[in-house]
């Protein structure tokens, strides 16, 4: 009899492991888009208590892959689909929900205020190795970049670096927050983060005289901005459509602004 009891307990324990995910909508992907989606899902859920939304990170590539596979309802991406991703998921539909802008950041103790795009390129390619070469203090330059495949990194590489490679001496960080942490803690560091990650612990450099702010992004004077996308398989419908419409609504766009991004319309 004892053994039977043991067996039943064991079965129950095993059975307990097999749970069903009861989320109605899962959104996965870019960690840049994540704060917008997280906040929006919270307010959306208070208005629609019956709908449960799960938000996961993982990066743009993961989000696009997962929505193409159909394992999540919406994928979040901070870059456009690559040709490879388009062939893999021909029915993917992208909706622009916000504008992001990359800021080049240094430690607040660094006296550099303005650089040209060419100078930024030379710094990140390793050609310029000391801040005094661009009018700053006599300090060695420590480059900080995102890991290969990051949406922010691919934006930086296509908009700033072009065909030049980033120096292989650059420190790689798995998230924008980690870049901010490193730059805030090291007076030699220079990196790039989405404008949503700017705070007092780091200093944003203006490019060709334009600082990274909403006005300069809108009138295209500041060169480094990009659209943020939510991606669905086919035209959004049901809860996905309702949620994307919510983010595009004035209320949703306020969240976009609140999280440090730029609304798609002023």
């Amino acid at each position: 009899m004892k053994s039977l009891v043991c067996f039943v307990i064991a079965l129950t324990l095993f059975g307990g492991c097999v749970g069903k995910d009861s989320k109605d909508l899962i959104i996965s992907g870019s960690t840049t888009v994540q704060p917008i989606v997280t906040r929006a899902s919270e307010t959306y859920s208070t208005e629609h208590p019956s709908v449960r939304i799960g938000v996961e990170g993982g990066g743009s590539g993961t989000g696009i892959n997962m929505v193409a596979e159909g394992s999540v309802g919406i994928g979040a991406s901070s870059r456009e689909l690559t040709a490879q991703e388009k062939t893999k998921g021909p029915d993917l539909v992208t909706t622009t929900v916000a504008i992001d802008c990359i800021a080049i950041v240094v430690n607040p103790s660094n006296t550099i205020k303005d650089l040209t795009l060419q100078q930024v390129r030379d710094i990140f390619s390793g050609k310029i190795k000391n801040y005094k070469e661009v009018g700053g203090p006599d300090r060695p330059i420590v480059l900080v970049e995102r890991e290969d495949g990051s949406g922010t990194r691919s934006m930086f590489e296509s908009m700033v670096m072009g065909k030049t490679d980033v120096s292989d001496g650059a420190l790689q960080k798995p998230a924008s927050g980690a870049i901010r942490f490193t730059v805030a803690g090291n007076e030699n560091a220079i990196g790039y983060v989405g404008i949503g990650y700017l705070d007092d612990s780091i200093k944003a450099i203006s490019l060709n005289g334009s600082s990274p702010d909403e006005e300069n992004v809108r009138n295209k004077r500041y060169p480094l901005s990009r659209n943020l996308y939510l991606i669905t398989k086919r035209q959004p419908q049901g809860i996905s459509k309702d949620f994307i419409d919510y983010i595009l609504s004035p209320e949703g766009q306020d969240i976009v602004k609140h999280e440090g991004f730029i609304k798609i319309k002023p």
Partner: protein
């Protein structure tokens, strides 16, 4: 139909469960090798193991700098942890009074239970800055910083296994040594340490396995630079940190994805060899005194 025999039934159920562990291990192996090995239809094994350029966007996969960095971090950690751990084990098994044992041993076990991300954050805030200032480096995120934090993480393994090994040396050895007029120290380093050597080596090997596989704490402090490491005071990138950084963005079944699994095969095989080695050493250590 035989009689219902509870004893046998329990035995079978337990056996089923323990076999599950083996099956899971085999499945994981199968999965990793299956996902990784097709890489070698496009990239040469030698190019992968000894190439020093890693450019996924151009499908160039040379992992030598990751392998070297992983071994540097591991041996650096052992260089610090072995002397410390061994001294601690000797102290605990031979010298410490009961009350000291009662404090130190649980503290060490607690050390083993701290999640690695906590070690990583600690190292990022304290050790990285300390290295940055002490050695006047451009950045403190170095192989040395990773070695230091790993050494703390492997200490519990080295201490507890070495202590067990030293305590397993029969009383007779000690008494024989003292009877010949040997001092405490002579007894320890001439009699006990040689007698327990295999157990101690096994502890070191297990610690090594832990160190080479550790990911989270290392990725936070090592800087992750895909350049060949030229010393302990430069940043590097280990096998596991490369996987962690890039797996999220690799397209499933692409060459990049397969290359990352191959990065995983390297420490996997290494740890497999190490643990077989250490379990043989541990059992031999026990046999010697029976």
């Amino acid at each position: 139909m035989g009689r219902f025999e509870p004893e046998k039934m329990v035995g079978r159920v337990l056996m089923l469960f323990s076999i599950t562990a083996v099956v899971v291990l085999l499945l994981i192996m199968l999965f990793i090798f299956n996902a990784g090995l097709p890489l070698f239809t496009k990239v040469g094994v030698l190019d992968f193991l000894f190439g020093t350029r890693w450019v996924p966007s151009k499908d160039v996969y040379g992992a030598f700098q990751f392998i070297v960095a992983a071994f540097m971090v591991t041996f650096g950690a052992l260089l610090i942890a072995v002397p410390l751990g061994l001294s601690c084990a000797i102290f605990l098994s031979e010298i410490a009074p009961r009350w000291a044992k009662n404090i130190v041993r649980p503290a060490i076990e607690l050390l083993a239970g701290i999640p690695s991300i906590i070690y990583g954050v600690f190292a990022l805030v304290i050790i990285v800055n300390a290295a940055h200032i002490t050695f006047n480096l451009a950045t403190g995120e170095t192989i040395l910083a990773a070695s230091i934090i790993l050494s703390i993480m492997v200490l519990p393994i080295i201490i507890s296994i070495s202590q067990d090994a030293i305590e397993a040396v029969p009383r007779l050895y000690r008494e024989g040594s003292y009877a010949m007029g040997a001092t405490d120290w002579q007894t320890i380093h001439r009699v006990l340490l040689p007698a327990a050597s295999q157990g101690i080596v096994a502890g070191v090997i297990l610690g090594m396995g832990r160190a080479i596989g550790e990911t989270m704490a290392v990725v936070l402090v090592i800087g992750n630079v895909e350049k060949f490491p030229t010393g302990f005071l430069v940043p590097g990138e280990t096998l596991t940190s490369a996987i962690l950084l890039e797996m999220g963005e690799a397209v499933v079944n692409s060459l990049h994805y397969r290359a990352l699994f191959c990065l995983g095969i390297v420490p996997f095989v290494f740890v497999l060899v190490l643990s077989v080695l250490s379990s043989r050493l541990i059992s031999r250590n026990h046999e010697r005194f029976e």
